[in-house]
């Protein structure tokens, strides 16, 4: 095939796109694969970018090529290539310069971008970041020299990771969180208590229940943040971590079904022939509730991207869907995992909580108590993979429910 046509075209060169490309290559040694990536950098492990800010890793150490499952060859990756349009009738993608690239099948894996609240004045000021790309991390690192105090807007995982990277560089960090507690997307305030304590002990300054109204600036860039409680926090850097929005604008007029994200069926196919969707930009389903779900997690994007790649290569593969919440990490010496239904409120769930001085856990069963639907573990995350498996397979947990509640479950219990 000529250079302006490929058997497989992948729009987006991050987790979903590259996982798909390598899955295709596993099954089809010869089909031409072209990846269009809007970023200037070759594909890299996006979750590692806070390490560029902390100084622990250099960009070369974050490169995807050759690492883990990313060992397939002969994948044409075009960086700095913005796809501006999808012409499904002509089966081609149109690039920003107007050139077309034809495909037999296309994966739409354009990911997401940070949500920037429109109501904060002066948000375009120099020194205001939303850490999303390697380039963002470079610019953030470049401003470290003139930064004594950084204000993070939003108490999610991304901002926490950025906050710790800044702490490591000796920057004073204040987290301004609109919710009553940090990590509100991943757990209820009660379940975040130990983490909050650890964050406070680590030297983070946290203000909850506040939002920013404006950025204060002079010629050197940002000099402070105005909060809605009347306070102004002097600072030289602001980092916005308020979630992400899918990159779907290039699909305007394409006729493809978009409902916030690109609607994908159980086999990762989008609504037009030959088109597939995966990753942050795709709407998939939640296996417990069957509800549509969009997530912004590397691990999910890889899993769905791989599945899409297999389908594109002609190996019809169903995608198992993903939990709306699925996260593991460690902040301030404290590991935690949150998965499935974790915001129980007064909902129809059977909830079991156990808290010690150093650990806490919450196990959420459905109303009749026979199925596990969610779990939060803080401090002790031993063998938590089993719980994900049990939730996802909707297993009847009656024979080993006691072991789940006591967090003593092991694989032996699942053997008949």
């Amino acid at each position: 095939m000529s250079r302006d046509r490929s058997q497989y075209v992948i729009v987006g060169g991050s987790a979903a796109g590259m996982a798909a490309a390598h899955a295709i290559r596993e099954k089809d040694a010869r089909g031409t694969i072209t990846v269009f990536s809007a970023e200037a950098d070759m594909p890299y492990f996006r979750p590692l970018i806070p390490f560029l800010v902390s100084g622990r890793k250099q960009p070369a150490e974050m490169a995807l090529a050759g690492c883990g499952p990313y060992t397939g060859g002969d994948i044409d990756i075009r960086t700095g290539a913005h796809v501006s349009k999808l012409d499904a009738d002509a089966r081609c993608v149109v690039l920003e310069d107007g050139s077309c690239h034809g495909y037999e099948s296309v994966l739409l894996a354009t990911g997401s971008r940070p949500y920037i609240p429109p109501d904060i004045e002066g948000i375009d000021t120099e020194g205001v970041f939303a850490l999303r790309t390697l380039e963002d991390a470079r610019r953030m690192a470049a401003r470290l020299a003139r930064t004594r105090h950084a204000v993070m807007l939003g108490g999610g995982l991304l901002n926490l990771k950025a906050a710790f990277a800044l702490l490591e560089r000796g920057v004073k960090v204040t987290l301004a969180v609109y919710s009553p507690e940090v990590l509100s997307q991943l757990m209820e305030p009660e379940d975040a208590a130990l983490i909050r304590q650890a964050l406070d002990d680590a030297g983070l300054s946290i203000i909850t229940g506040v939002g920013a109204t404006g950025i204060v600036a002079d010629a050197s860039g940002v000099t402070g943040v105005a909060l809605n409680d009347g306070r102004a926090l002097p600072c030289e850097m602001v980092c916005i971590g308020k979630g992400v929005r899918p990159n779907v604008e290039f699909l305007d007029g394409s006729g493809i079904q978009v409902e916030e994200g690109i609607v994908a069926d159980r086999h990762t196919a989008a609504s037009l022939p030959g088109a597939f969707a995966a990753g942050d930009v795709a709407v998939t389903y939640e296996p417990v509730t069957d509800n549509p779900v969009m997530t912004a997690l590397w691990t999910n994007a890889v899993e769905m991207g791989r599945c899409a790649g297999l389908n594109m290569a002609g190996h019809r593969t169903a995608y198992g869907g993903t939990f709306g919440i699925l996260n593991a990490t460690q902040v301030a010496e404290l590991p935690f995992v949150s998965m499935g239904v974790v915001h129980t409120g007064n909902g129809p769930y059977e909830v079991h909580r156990k808290t010690t001085a150093t650990t806490s856990r919450k196990l959420v069963f459905n109303a009749d108590g026979a199925r596990l639907v969610g779990a939060v573990f803080v401090g002790d995350i031993t063998q938590v993979g089993l719980y994900r498996y049990i939730i996802r397979e909707k297993m009847d947990v009656t024979p080993f429910k006691r072991q789940i509640i006591d967090h003593r479950l092991h694989y032996g219990h699942l053997l008949r």
């Binding site: 492990f45 883990g68 593991a328 993979g385 089993l386 092991h410 032996g412």
Partner: protein, 168 residues
């Protein structure tokens, strides 16, 4: 390509002596001797586990080297890969201790090394012909064979049982 060998577990043969655990920890110590391993800090870690199920069943658990290994695809740092022998390995230098692999392993056989803040798992003892746990097992509950050899032995055993039942 020659068939790779796998570690098979015969749960009915396990008596729960934990010799495999001891041997694994020693093999993954700096000194590789029991005497030396006990004194080492951080304490060497076993990558094989023996669990107990009521009323009295012992279940040795070890990494299955999954064909479509969830840990390898889930890793956000590119630290987990499959080597030429089919063994799934964690590159300790690349591991950032985010525990995503722990979250997705359905067998619960990836450990967290708290002192080094790294994940650890079975590496099939790259310096040995036969993995230490298998060598140490006194009852033959752990078997290191190729899939055809193992399934052949199972078939042979089953046919013998059948013949016996028929009074042959």
């Amino acid at each position: 390509m020659s068939q790779p060998k796998e570690i098979f577990v015969k749960t009915d043969r396990c008596v729960g002596c934990r010799s495999c655990i001891m041997a694994c920890a020693v093999e993954h110590s700096a000194s590789k001797t029991l005497f030396g391993a006990i004194a080492e800090s951080p304490r060497p870690k076993s990558r094989v586990y023996v669990e107990w199920v009521s009323p009295d069943r012992k279940v040795p658990l070890v990494c299955r080297q999954c064909e479509d290994a969830p840990c390898m695809h889930a890793c956000i740092a590119g630290a987990i890969s499959r080597d030429a022998d089919g063994v799934v390995r964690t590159d300790t230098d690349k591991c950032i201790g985010c525990w995503t692999c722990v979250m997705v392993c359905p067998y619960g056989v990836i450990g967290r090394h708290l002192e080094t803040h790294k994940a650890y798992r079975c590496d099939r003892c790259p310096d040995r012909e036969v993995p230490a746990c298998v060598s140490a097992c006194p009852t033959g509950a752990l078997v290191y064979q190729t899939v055809p050899d193992y399934s052949g032995a199972v078939r042979k055993h089953a046919s013998r049982e059948l013949l016996n039942a028929e009074g042959g």
